[in-house]
């Protein structure tokens, strides 16, 4: 690996990992005999997909320029994230994957699962059914679902997925999460040592390549940030909230107008993504509990107040001056949630900017104007 002592060099390396679904580290892992599995939702437990020789890749659609082929198969109200994934799948960009694991988290991604099934059937495909409520029956159901996933993976790939193996995977995963959490906590400082874009790139790279082969990266990131000693001036501290956001360039546009993203609560972000899974008890039960208790996805019923309080508390803890809610057009889950959230956050005295966008970062001029006007309206 190149010498990555300076933040600029490290960022360049991380950005390179995000240019293509199959980057150099993935290729290296495959050459070592590791098995790449794609997944599309935070409800999929990474430790299960990291057992033994398996490794998970959060599916993104870098470089997608249009979705003309996917549009033939998907209805016009399916979100552009789903559309972009199908487009690249039909372009054979994910053919290196040995399997796809979905969650029945939204109708859009379920349609992706269906369409892949008859257009470009993966070698292995599994959809995890996740309850909408958090209660005893839901817990029991989810444990059974996870058991089915374990059995399917174990028999298809001929891999030991015993409780011991999954427990080890949880432990290893928690170590990485703890390290990332402690870096994320550095954003509480009055003058954070790194930008939100740099942190976003770190988070995404670690979801786009096997973490086992990048275990030194968080440490290098921290060292480079400390060595640099500062990330420049800004006018306002922001928290970004919403669904899928896997392009650091979007955070970059926000920060180019004087914002500094100090906290994030979106599907691929650090909240609640970096919360640990319990290492005690049966591992699948611990994972089920984590999904139902910690994930805080808006698809869960009867938990809006808890989710809003979670966001408000983080915004205060990280001294965010304002919150930017970004949602992909036609995302039902976050579309409904964000309408309620705007009111709840404003009631809590937090300025809010709500942005609807397409999956691919575009319309930068309008985004810049909106963010600049938001900062000005806060008199920053």
């Amino acid at each position: 690996m190149r010498v990555l002592l300076k933040m600029n060099n490290l960022q360049e390396y991380l950005a390179g990992l995000l240019d293509d679904p199959c980057n150099e580290v993935v290729e290296q892992a495959v050459a070592y005999g590791m098995i790449p599995l794609g997944y599309t939702c935070s409800l999929i437990p990474e430790p299960v997909l990291s057992a033994g020789r398996l490794f998970p890749l959060r599916l993104r659609a870098p470089g997608v320029s249009g979705t003309e082929t996917a549009d033939i198969y998907l209805s016009s109200v399916i979100c552009s994230y789903t559309r972009s994934l199908l487009e690249l799948a039909l372009d054979s960009k994910y053919d290196f994957l040995k399997g796809w694991v979905f969650a029945a988290s939204c109708d859009h991604l379920r349609r992706l699962y269906d369409n892949l099934g008859y257009l470009n059937k993966p070698e292995f495909s599994f959809i995890l059914d996740v309850p909408h409520k958090n209660n005893e029956a839901a817990m029991e159901w989810l444990e059974l679902e996870l058991e089915k996933l374990r059995t399917a993976l174990s028999s298809h790939f001929n891999i030991d997925m015993s409780d011991e193996v999954i427990s080890t995977s949880i432990k290893e995963n928690n170590i990485m999460l703890a390290e990332l959490r402690s870096i994320g906590d550095m954003r509480k400082e009055a003058m954070p040592l790194f930008t939100g874009t740099e942190f976003h790139r770190l988070m995404m790279a670690l979801q786009a390549a096997p973490r086992k082969l990048l275990s030194d990266i968080p440490g290098r990131f921290r060292d480079a940030a400390l060595k640099r000693g500062g990330a420049g001036k800004f006018r306002a501290r922001f928290m970004i909230v919403g669904g899928e956001l896997d392009d650091p360039a979007y955070t970059g546009v926000i920060e180019s107008m004087g914002g500094r993203v100090v906290a994030d609560r979106y599907c691929t972000g650090s909240f609640p993504g970096l919360e640990p899974i319990s290492e005690s008890g049966k591992p699948l039960a611990a994972i089920a509990l984590y999904i139902l208790e910690k994930n805080r996805c808006p698809r869960m019923m009867e938990e809006f107040d808890r989710r809003a309080d979670y966001i408000i508390n983080i915004a205060r803890e990280y001294s965010a001056d304002g919150i930017i809610i970004q949602t992909i057009k036609f995302c039902d889950t976050w579309g409904v949630e964000s309408s309620l959230l705007v009111a709840a956050l404003r009631d809590a005295g937090i300025p809010v900017l709500r942005l609807e966008r397409e999956y691919r970062t575009g319309g930068e001029g309008q985004l810049r104007t909106r963010v600049q006007a938001f900062i000005e309206s806060m008199k920053k």
Partner: protein, 267 residues
């Protein structure tokens, strides 16, 4: 003591606007068609306005310059840039402090702006990546009628029975309007239907920020009387006219920001 002048320069998608103010009020203004390079548009519009002010020979004679509009960040010789949303709010507030709600209809976008008691922005909403209801939309529509924009606006006022134009997309609206003309419908009724469709779109945007009187319209399309009439109809209240050309509102707001910023530097 030498008299001080402050300038605002609004580089929009179709025109460049410049306003010079002093400590009393507006001194001069200029509107020019846009050049390809935003910085060149800024330079030309400022040169045009500077020519009108005795005592000013070039841009550097201005005490403070603020750029705004889509090309704001390209004006390298401006001391500051401020978003057009804040500038339209402050410009309208400068003209009439009673203004609380603004529809800014520019060449390539439409914005609804709620204004604070001090002229700052309380809330705003913008149209999304679509030319419907913008200056470009009206240009395309008037071309179908083979009319200048002013004439298009005037014929819409003569309609007694506006037709319903349902398409929001500029391209589909063009097709729909051509069909309506082919069916021998009165151009006045079609034009009024177009104005009503755009007014409804503006109304929806305003609902998102909250409608509080007094309401005004800024941007180049504020000169479209047919649109103002349609908007008054849907709002059920009068649009407050501004004392200054509404197309200059962004540049005026930028000039007022320039004066404020210059004053804060003096303190």
């Amino acid at each position: 003591m030498t008299k001080k002048y402050y300038a605002g320069c609004d580089i929009g998608s179709t025109t460049g606007k410049a306003v010079i103010i002093d400590d009393e009020g507006i001194v001069a203004s200029a509107i020019i068609p846009r050049e390809i390079d935003p910085e060149e548009t800024a330079r030309l519009s400022l040169s045009r306005v500077i020519e009108k002010v005795s005592g000013l020979d070039n841009i550097s004679d201005v005490a403070y310059l603020v750029g705004t509009g889509y090309g704001r960040s390209e004006i390298s010789f401006a001391q500051e840039n401020v978003s057009e949303i804040s500038c339209h709010a402050l410009g309208a507030f400068f003209c009439n402090p009673a203004i609380k709600t603004i529809v800014d209809i520019g060449g390539q976008d439409v914005k609804g702006i709620a204004v604070n008691e001090d002229g700052s922005v309380l809330e705003f909403a913008m149209n999304d990546k679509c030319a419907a209801g913008t200056g470009r939309f009206f240009e395309a529509m008037s071309r179908i009628f083979r009319l200048e924009l002013d004439d298009f606006s005037e014929i819409s006022l003569k309609s007694k029975s506006p037709l319903s134009v349902t398409a929001q997309c500029s391209v589909f609206a063009e097709t729909e309007v051509i069909s309506l003309l082919a069916q021998k419908n009165l151009p006045a009724d079609i034009a009024a239907g177009i104005q009503a469709a755009v007014a409804k779109r503006c109304f929806t945007l305003l609902k998102r920020v909250g409608i509080r009187p007094e309401v005004t319209v800024t941007g180049g399309c504020a000169k479209n009387r047919g649109l103002l009439k349609a908007l008054e109809g849907i709002l059920k209240e009068e649009i407050t006219p501004l004392s200054v050309d509404p197309q200059l509102m962004g540049a005026l707001g930028a000039a007022v920001y320039a004066r404020r910023l210059a004053a804060s530097l003096r303190v």
